[in-house]
Subunit: 262 residues, 2 copies
Amino acid sequence: MGKDSLAGGTYGIPLYRELQRRLTRALSEGTWKPGEALPSESRLAQQYGVSIGTVRKAIDELVSGRILVRQQGRGTFVATHTADRLLFHFFHVVPRSDGHGRPPGTEREMPRPVLRSFRRAAAGATVARELGIDAGAPILRIDNLLLLGARPVIVDEISISAPLFPDLDRQRFEGRPGTIYGLYQADYGINVVRSNERLSAVACPPAIAKLLGLRARQPVLNIRRVAYTYADRPVESRVSWVDTREHEYLSDLWKSDPDHDR
Amino acid sequence: MGKDSLAGGTYGIPLYRELQRRLTRALSEGTWKPGEALPSESRLAQQYGVSIGTVRKAIDELVSGRILVRQQGRGTFVATHTADRLLFHFFHVVPRSDGHGRPPGTEREMPRPVLRSFRRAAAGATVARELGIDAGAPILRIDNLLLLGARPVIVDEISISAPLFPDLDRQRFEGRPGTIYGLYQADYGINVVRSNERLSAVACPPAIAKLLGLRARQPVLNIRRVAYTYADRPVESRVSWVDTREHEYLSDLWKSDPDHDR
DNA sequence: TCAAACAACTCATCTATATGAATCCTTCCA
DNA sequence: TGGAAGGATTCATATAGATGAGTTGTTTGA
């Protein structure tokens, strides 16, 4: 029975759920970094003084929540923000599928970001509420134009709490090797695991319309996303404006992932 | 070992997955109707000649896919289309949450439907493709206006394959006791278990605008939904027009359900 | 040197069993 | 008549172990 043994611990709540809580906390504390392997199931079982089946049950939900990834013969790993993961779990804009026989959601394409502005600002009421910080608190405000194919399709307005991302500046942001969530993860140990989006149709503001090559007041899809890390801690508030003339927003609550069979 | 034993059966694919396949097929054949209980886990184990753990694993995914519902001490039941289930899994339009401290998604309200028209028609190309039938095949076309509070917010244009719903007429449709999916289920044994939605922002057609109390060409949210039953068989194609001045579309891929913890 | 064989390790599947918790039904007694 | 007690049945949790499959690294042998 290892030093972290759960034996004789919490009452009322199941062992596997308590173990899950501890694993999640360890994850949020950076005990194992994204891409790294956790100890093997048998070692975890030994360490926490539970059976291997209980360890598997604790891990099961973290895997189905895309927080961990299991690989037979290799181990269990902390999920990383690869381009694929971004595409299938956090990026829902796809080419329209009107008419063609092709099933929706296939042939997704990685958006090419063009940085429009990077600056420090103070949180407005809405962003503050979404990020769980005080109104007026310092934030970083990043405006991006996303190209799909050759065409500008999305304008992203990103707000993140400045103290969470020390020393993040324009150079560093633009020089990131992968996705934005990959940057949060690799440079700041913040792993975005879930997001929540609220959509509405609005008349396009002139400034946005100019970027999208749209006439002002034309209908655009407005998306407010809040991205969360472990334990539902908000990390990023993002407002997107989507030109849906040639693209659409795909919401497929199940089977959104070709790899992940369930 | 029961007559349905899986022993010595399929090679290569796991027992629990084969059992899952058989259960799904039995479900689609109406062996157990919605609301009814399946045989107990121990009985299923006996019947199929597998251990109880394997039965649980087979059922696990059907439960997480909301196809079955487990109740400790009672049994395992085929999910039914209660108002709650509709609200949380198939109805994503909620009051805007701008400004208020209230978390998004709470305080949902059941829409009140007003039937605008019920008629027989021929499937157009898009609907035919979505329903997996031939273009020109007979369909039922139902137009609904949905009120949230006192206000008209959504126009629904529903298309279903006529042969799938024999003898369905306006009286029967309007006289249904519960939701539309409840009608499909109770009267035709068709259990909608999944849906897929594609959203875009468009200028509101005049006919729709009149119903929603909106000026023509104002931005509205256009939703194309295809609803599926077991084994990904399409059942319904629905086009919705949503007035998002006071409401918005909520897309929360995880924790959309207060009951269902995962 | 190269490649096959092997060993050691991982997660995946499957079994068997025990105990607890929730529900339902019957029995029994005041 | 009513309600408590008990028993039977259900799913929920937890354990222990066997076997299989996939991966990795090492050893062996031609």
